[in-house]
Amino acid sequence: MLVAGLLVGLGTGLGSGCTSGHGVCGLARLSPRSLVATLTFLVMAIITVFVVRHVIGGGA
């Protein structure tokens, strides 16, 4: 949880936005930066969950 929190903080700090900032506000303003950011963090989050649950965890 500490590692995850650090990544969330560092990532949103560097990427200047999170789910609400890029995903909700940025997409609603049709911002290309926000579209790229939203796709990037969604895909990375889906891959992470897949690895944790189905590769390391062996399905759950």
């Binding site: 949880m1 500490l2 590692v3 995850a4 929190g5 650090l6 990544l7 969330v8 903080g9 560092l10 990532g11 949103t12 700090g13 560097l14 990427g15 200047s16 936005g17 999170c18 789910t19 609400s20 890029h22 995903g23 909700v24 506000c25 940025g26 997409l27 609603a28 303003r29 911002s31 290309p32 930066r33 790229v36 950011a37 939203t38 990037t40 963090f41 969604l42 895909v43 990375m44 989050a45 889906i46 891959i47 992470t48 969950v49 897949f50 944790v52 649950r53 189905h54 399905g59 759950a60």
Partner: protein, 137 residues
């Protein structure tokens, strides 16, 4: 009045996050777990929020300035850089590990737990770390 409006907006945002299930890491991870028992409901939360916001912006920007502010403050950058994409990728990994993104994590202070507090402390540390990394230009 500006402070009161800010408070009401924050209250509405937090209420929306809590009611929609965004503050429940198990639901968030279920949404991200396409290969497992996928729970698509949060997609409608994001989609609904974007549509509502899109309409709201259209209405709000008919004004030249906010009702309780001097001017709208909007991002103007259009370029894609490594900081945006790399940062978003790191955030995605952290989101996938914890099930918390910043808004819901902060809203969840209403019902604190040890993992949540650990996550929040590390998140704030991450923000300071990000500010210490200078932008390459």
């Amino acid at each position: 009045m500006k402070t009161l409006m800010g408070y009401i907006a924050g209250l509405l945002f937090g209420l929306g996050l809590a009611v929609s299930g965004m503050t429940d890491p198990a639901r968030v991870l279920g949404f991200l777990d396409l290969a497992g028992a996928w729970d698509p409901t949060l997609m409608f939360v994001l989609g609904g929020a974007v549509v509502t916001n899109f309409i709201g912006y259209r209405l709000a920007f008919k004004r030249t300035a906010p009702v309780y502010g001097e001017a709208f403050q909007l991002p103007t950058r259009q370029d894609l850089d490594g900081r945006l994409i790399g940062g978003s990728a790191l955030f995605g990994i952290g989101w996938g590990l914890s099930g918390y993104c910043p808004g819901p994590a902060i809203a969840s202070i209403a019902g604190p737990s040890v993992p949540l507090v650990a996550m929040l402390v590390a998140m704030v540390a991450g923000w300071f770390l990000a500010r210490a990394i200078p932008a390459r230009s």
